[in-house]
Symmetry: C2
Subunit: 218 residues, 2 copies
Amino acid sequence: MPLARVHNIAVSLDGFATGEGQSLDTPFGHAGMRLMEWFFPTATFQGLSGDRERQEVSAASDPDDRFAAQSFEGIGAEIMGANKFGPPGWQQDPEWRGWWGEEPPFRTPTFVLTHTPKPPLEMSGGTTFHFLSATPAEALDAAFAAAGGLDVRIGGGPTMVREFLAAGLVDHLHVVQVPILLGRGVRLWDGLEGLEAGYDVDSVTTPSGVTHLTFTRR
Amino acid sequence: MPLARVHNIAVSLDGFATGEGQSLDTPFGHAGMRLMEWFFPTATFQGLSGDRERQEVSAASDPDDRFAAQSFEGIGAEIMGANKFGPPGWQQDPEWRGWWGEEPPFRTPTFVLTHTPKPPLEMSGGTTFHFLSATPAEALDAAFAAAGGLDVRIGGGPTMVREFLAAGLVDHLHVVQVPILLGRGVRLWDGLEGLEAGYDVDSVTTPSGVTHLTFTRR
């Protein structure tokens, strides 16, 4: 059975997966890039970003990379929330084509949850954005149907991940706990009392100082 | 310089250091003992509880015990919040002498923060409870004065630890992150944005599945 999987969602110690004040210039709000610093030196990120970044892959990031790379293995479709596709108000901008340029890293059908659907956007490299207004369960059905028997990535942001978790739709969850305190923003964990009961939970700390938590459905 | 130290404060993934509904029978509310399960098999806990418990020390708990034991090293006084000393309403019960029987494990002067001070209680084994209404800074002054040049333990619960952290009074903080989701209760981390900036932070995951986080003042 194909699985619904969440990968590489980073949270602060106080549980915020993005900061306050998201905008075009600050996609993570006041958190800046602090939740993703563990990710940038990994081979996986460097491979995604190609020539656009000059940062070197750090060997010390190998333990993090083992987790980061899993996000791209065996995925046939992605579902993302509206806030991952663009800054507030992108729905009113007919020119907006996502944060990722003309060749987004998804390379699969990618379903964007929004209350204002529009025609699909076919990008280079295999990504086609589909815009749909749907419940989590409906969106997952559509994504599995498009995934060709592979798994579906529940891509975030935190609000939609929380909704999929609350609906019991997530088979595998990988969270990266970053030891900073953001104080404000969007919480990942609210309203999920007892979530761990349905999962085997593993924790691994890496040299970068983050802790990788994986929840695997029993 | 003697230090103000916090040890062995356990939090759920969603940041709750105690559950909802604390009472005489449920000192951690609906959390039960789930936040402390990593602690019970340690040599440190077994040594504290003496004959009262029959649980065996588990060798697998050694990595946890290295953290647990530090709580009792070099401490000359403790400060605790009212909710650690007793269930809601203990101030109105003249017979209440704390949760720990006639020989409490503190073995030092122990300052209980309460808005209804009363005369000290001298217990067996070196613990004397002093009851005082004071700000965190005032309480810390009193505790250092009583600690004979040793460190002071900021003993919890989470509300008072958060107040001491917010006031910048904590030199060393040890938090045990337990991979469960409590959903409700008393949060440790609220209102502490940017706390990590003043500390070196370390994270270590142990075989029990918890992650020990230590914040050491720079």
